[in-house]
Symmetry: C2
């Protein structure tokens, strides 16, 4: 009894599906599992992962199914996605909200404490009435490694 909450993050997929008259399928469970396991994976990467897991003879979900289910899982509040720049978005389990920090140099993705933006969020709310959605934010910049490496740019 700690589950009758609203945004209960532990609701095991099945319940959320039931509540909407939707069905619990193998594919859905797999996609969700893959998202949780990979963290920060693109739909394509998730598909690849599932293909691996399925092995040679195994049946992995089709790309379209992956897309459809990612969308559904997001509506169910079980996963989130973020656009980290050009190309495909990345998905992660919705459990622990965190900021995404992406290095433009190497593409590395780091997570950061959402509290980092508390001040900014407050000011946005006050000044513009804008409610910041921390889970979807992606901060870009340069990581230490790439920063050092950048010393050899100009000839």
């Amino acid at each position: 009894m700690a589950d009758s909450h609203q945004t209960g993050s532990a609701a095991p997929l099945a319940e959320r599906l039931r509540a909407r008259g939707l069905r619990l399928t193998t594919q859905r469970q797999r996609v969700l599992a893959a998202v949780a396991a990979l963290d920060h994976a693109t739909p394509e990467a998730i598909g690849a992962r599932l293909r691996e897991e399925a092995g040679p003879g195994g049946a992995a979900p089709d790309a379209s199914t992956v897309y459809r289910n990612l969308e559904l899982l997001e509506r169910l509040g079980l996963v989130w996605h973020t656009h980290l720049g050009k190309g495909a978005p990345v998905y992660h389990a919705a459990e622990h909200p965190h900021l995404h920090v992406v290095c433009q140099g190497c593409g590395e993705i780091a997570s950061a404490d959402p509290a980092l933006l508390d001040t900014a969020a407050e000011r946005l709310a006050t000044d513009l009435g804008f409610q910041l959605d921390v889970g979807h934010v992606a901060l870009s910049g340069t990581c230490r490694t790439c920063r050092d490496r950048a010393g050899d740019e100009k000839p």
Copy 2:
């Protein structure tokens, strides 16, 4: 006399091109002008704009040319681009750095004071050695209007 700076934003394109042995073409001037005029425009929108400006018989640059020049202009430091979520990136003149704030509901793009992230930038630098690139950051969330409108979601 305020121009012999390094990141001089006023350097009229021509100079920057010269400095690299590149050529000043009509298309380049047009693309840059369109970016400045539209602010927050996608490559497609920029192309459309140029087509309008050119009129029926006029010759507007091909889409590929727009892309190529946007990339070039960015390398020259004259424009910046940001990914505001799914889909096309938006470009704006590099002159005045600003944050982008995007409403997930209506797609509206607002600009905010870069200083908003000063605290966060500092902490990222200290904690992770990560240099935040404020010009490329896009903050997503919900604007006041869409927030109010959201009251009618559940049936």
